[in-house]
Symmetry: C3
Subunit: 351 residues, 3 copies
């Protein structure tokens, strides 16, 4: 940990292209903390206006806020065009990224003689590296991981404990995989023969781009043939499940419990909220955003915002959800109207 002067933080933010200016006293902060838990000498942030009352009560000495937010006068305030980016830069400087244990190559790991390890390999106990694996420079592999035959990792990758990479799968540079995730298991590929399921050997692989981060207990199927792809810069939460042959573009963000079925294409910079499902053999266009629990059953245009099952434009989904709550009462009104119209018809001799 390192102290950080608020004026220095502003300078760093500007260098990253994030607007920032200091309001109030310049001072050194020694930790970043949440509104509720921050103490004297620490910096906190407000990114969601729901927490304005917590901002009033915080014991922090400084705060990062967006435009238009009024902070208590006792706090030194960094006003920032993007408070999340502000806090990210502050955390990296003060707390740094996680420092991994340094095992070198543990004597309790099992490295096949044909495997090639780059410089700076940091490999924990009970790791298995199988035949013909290639691992780049400065990779950290935590205990209990298994990297199967012919798999390839680029430079500066991190596999947290108990990650499994199946045979011949490929990870780019600076890929991080959290604990328990599995990359390259067989897809659900069977041919129906009568009432039984004939296994189609899954001879493809998974290719993960640079700077991808994958949460804990995710599963990414290898392709039946060819590749399942995860584009560079994409980030997955926990328990994201990707079907065989899916192509996920770069810079996507998938929240926990998302499922993408086989052979689906998800283009660049798509956001899928928690528990979303994407059906197979369709395309979700770039920059699309899909709300929590939605089920996408058809192609999605670039830039769309969808919600619901089947997923429709979010404004339509919300309108329909509100109308649905009024439907039982509308059914009664419909019945009353039918009676009244019958009576009117009778009165006019038109039955």
């Amino acid at each position: 940990m390192a102290e950080l002067l608020l004026s220095d933080l502003c300078e760093r933010l500007k260098k990253e292209g994030v607007g920032a200016r200091l309001e109030g006293e310049d001072r050194a902060v020694r930790a970043v903390n949440s509104l509720e838990e921050a103490a004297e000498g620490e910096i906190t942030f407000l990114a969601n206006e729901k927490y304005l009352s917590a901002l009033r009560d915080t014991r922090a000495s400084a705060v990062i806020v967006g435009e238009g937010v009024k902070a208590p006068e006792r706090l030194s305030t960094i006003r920032c065009s993007d408070p999340y980016a502000g806090i990210a830069v502050a955390i990296v400087h003060i707390h740094g990224h996680r420092r991994h244990p340094q095992w070198g190559i543990s004597e309790k790991a099992t490295i096949h003689p044909t495997a090639k390890l780059g410089q700076g390999a940091n490999i924990g106990e009970y790791v298995s590296i199988a035949a013909d694996v290639t691992i780049g420079d400065d990779c950290t592999i935590y205990p209990g991981c298994y990297v199967a035959e012919g798999a390839r990792l680029g430079n500066e990758c991190t596999l947290f404990p108990n990650v499994v990479v199946y045979d011949r799968c490929e990870l780019g540079n600076r890929v991080t995989v959290h604990a328990g995730s599995v990359i390259g298991e067989d897809g659900l590929g069977y041919a129906p023969v009568g009432d039984q399921w004939l296994k189609i050997p899954q001879v493809g692989k998974v290719v993960v781009g640079d700077d991808v981060e994958i949460g804990a207990n995710c599963t990414i199927d290898r392709a039946t043939l060819g590749r399942t792809e995860i584009g560079a810069g994409t980030k997955f939460g926990n328990v994201v499940v990707i079907g065989h042959g899916a192509k996920v573009g770069p810079d996507c963000l998938f929240v926990g419990l998302v499922g993408v079925a086989g052979s689906a294409t998800v283009e660049r910079h798509v956001t899928l909220a928690g528990q979303v499902g994407i059906a197979g053999h369709l395309t979700v266009g770039k920059d699309a955003r899909v709300g929590a629990q939605a089920g996408v059953t058809g192609d999605v245009k670039a830039g769309s915002e969808l919600w619901g099952t089947p997923a429709v434009p979010v404004a339509d989904a919300k309108r329909a959800a509100i109308a649905l709550q009024k439907l039982p009462e509308a059914m009664k009104r419909l019945k009353v109207l039918e009676q009244e119209v019958e009576e009117l018809k009778a009165a006019l001799g038109r039955t």
Copy 2:
């Protein structure tokens, strides 16, 4: 296993505050079993009236039932105000809790010299205990677990195989974590910078209270800052996914595949059924119950029962679901009415 006299079971139940009385012959039972599989000399139970016909056919010698249930006369019957509690007490007495293998501290485990282990440590092969870890008395850690730097476990904890506890996370006393679960992985914390995602280091932790039981392959994110909390006595099924900074209260029950997004607050004694999703930054009040697959998108009042996406009071959700099935036909009726009203208007010269 131990035999148990039915009259003794009644006494034990009364001591636990559960009403119970024996109807029919007192006898010793040697095992607890399901209605279908129980044999002569065994005790079974009926807690769901759907299974009344199985009760008629069971080969068990005794049965635990609730008030108002008529059991066959040949069965000795313990009538119990809470049949589930009755069967729990019977199982604990006759079968006991699972007995773990006794490894002592396996020579094939890797314990960092700075780690502190309490008395009675029972640690299997291929376990890694990292630097500055503290583990209380009488803990059992199965093979393949990883407990990272600075993590703390209380007394009488059990980690089943391949559990991972990330750095600095804290488990209370008598915490049980089933196989493959991950506690304290990084949350999905990124600041959007242009179309890319800038990682916000996740420097918080997870704090799990006493007597928590966590199912298999769950994931609980560490907080960005501060703590993700799981309250004492809370029980999770399998593949429960908790986002960073969420606060889950005590005595909650979450069924499989539940997702709770970041910074959500779930108060005491909340029940979430299977595949429920809770959006971020909201509060689910104490004693609330949320039905399977529901998606909670706003604050929930204490004691509510909700269902649907977006979640609404369960009675409303059911009414809406029934009305929805009648909607296509109602649309036709609406169209007919419109034509009839047009005709009436024409007949009255009011177009």
Copy 3:
């Protein structure tokens, strides 16, 4: 890999009972590949007419297609009554099934002296086989697996890395379990005592039939009493979650993120699409098919096709979903009608 003559492939298919005839030149192919990635000398297939344009552009030398599909003349074409079965047979012949590393019984595995291993045991490093385990012939157990006390595996089983089998669970012959899956963890069995949850020891087990394949990171609860069952020939995708005491029949196919609650019965040859949930204590009849994200809340008749939450016949669900999108506008039409009827009533002196 082996080359395969197209006329030989036709013969093999006919032997398996799949109709097939060769159109165009007979030639040898050396690999199976996807439409996009296939090269000269390789065979590809078309099973979904969405990809007809990719068929026109493929560089493959041969293709397997169904009846009625027109393939480019330059391609040798195998016309097949079931293109998926055709490609399965081709892949098995040319590429074969995955070949596992051969460890014999690794010296770095831990085998309890009371465990019985069959002939041809292939057991990787860091595997733990506990007391009284029985393992059949020709089983492969990858590194990091744990097989608990008294568990039984049949012949030719494969456990991929970090699979956990709890005590006394039983797997049949030719069972495959992908990485990180857990079989036999405790079910979510608690008796409510006041606001707290009293654990009901889970003393049952899991019994998995022959020829079952289970995806990665699945969890299958042991029964409270008796058995959780997975029928022979059933196939699971990833992160399938099965509750305690559920009975899943033979030849079922469950896609990723499916949840089946405790004590549910799913009969033979049922298909559950992604993220489907099945409530507890109900029966899904044989040959039923349930669409993605559906929530089944009641018994399902054999052969039904359902969708939606609560699940209804798929045609009804689709009609309702379409009508729901028109509902907000219908509400306006209803209001207009009410005003018009009021005016008509007034005009007729009938208010």
